[in-house]
């Protein structure tokens, strides 16, 4: 059983800390121009962070205790393929989900 005091320290601390991280640049830099080298790096924030965040989740999913899972791998491949091809986010999600459930059913 989680200690209630610990739990609330983590909830409140994580809430405040996360807000400060999100506020760091928006709040403090504000309207000032960022140096060119910095904005050049920031242009690649999303394409670097998001793939790095999910790559381990795709290869070693927690739901299969870190074992490589053909259903999840093919769902990922289909999602990327449809995304690159159609540039349609919703359609890619739908195709990925259909592949995931289809494969889970077939392999299940």
């Amino acid at each position: 059983m989680i200690d209630r005091l610990d739990l609330w320290i983590v909830i409140v601390g994580l809430g405040l800390g996360s807000f400060l991280l999100r506020f760091a640049f928006l709040g403090l830099v504000g309207g000032r121009e960022l140096p060119a080298w910095l904005s050049r790096h920031l242009r690649y924030t999303a394409v670097a962070v998001l793939p790095a965040l999910i790559a381990p989740l795709i290869l070693w999913p927690g739901a299969t205790d870190g074992q490589i899972d053909p259903a999840r791998l093919s769902a990922s491949a289909v999602t990327i393929g449809v995304g690159l091809w159609t540039k349609n986010v919703l359609l890619s999600i739908a195709c990925g989900a259909v592949t995931l459930y289809g494969m889970l059913y077939l392999l299940g």
């Binding site: 983590v10 924030t45 394409v47």
Partner: protein, 244 residues
Amino acid sequence: MPTSTIKSRYLQGVRDGAPFLFVIGPFGLLFGVVATEAGLNVLEALAFSVMVIAGASQFTALQLLVEDAPTFVALASALAVNLRMAMYSASMTPYLGKLPLWKRAIAAYFLVDQTYAVSLMKFERDPEMTPAGRFAYFIGAVTPLCPLWYLFTAIGAILGNAVPDALALDFAVPITFLAIVAPMLRSLPHVAAAVVAIVLALVFAWLPYNLGLFVAAIAGMMTGAQVELMTQTKAAQAKAEAET
């Protein structure tokens, strides 16, 4: 700026944000279920989602609390998972930095993976938007997503173990992020940044406190910036040669 334009920006945001309901819903539900399994009541699970509003770090904190890690370690690890939010904040600054402080504070609170990704895509594609128009769009994208994050956390916490594992809710996040990122890979620097970030994220996955993500993200961003510089120089050289 006429209110009609602001309103249409807001509605555009709602429309572009809405598809991500399919992620927020399952992910929120999953957090509620996991929180219940960890012994949290509905109020505690909901407080987590309202205060923190960042799924991955909430899961990290909860996991470590369940494993009886020291409070400080649970807090620090979960915050490390959210370090990327500081990068999102920096990346949004050129677009939202000119807004009044209270609006920037509101945007900061609601700056999550999906609202960030949706807005960035729009702001890059549409450089003519005013700061007020961008804020309206951002709040539009927040509207169908963040309240639903709270709601689905509560539903998950109430349903608890009644939600079957077979739904594979864990994979809602990877699928959506892939779908968001794929259309962003529109130039060589973008692809290079993503490839380097993926490889390093896998290589450094063993690092504690999710620091592997941080290493991978920074290296990916540096790669993107460098490749951009190189392709620009090459293009400039080709142009100079063509003119002589």
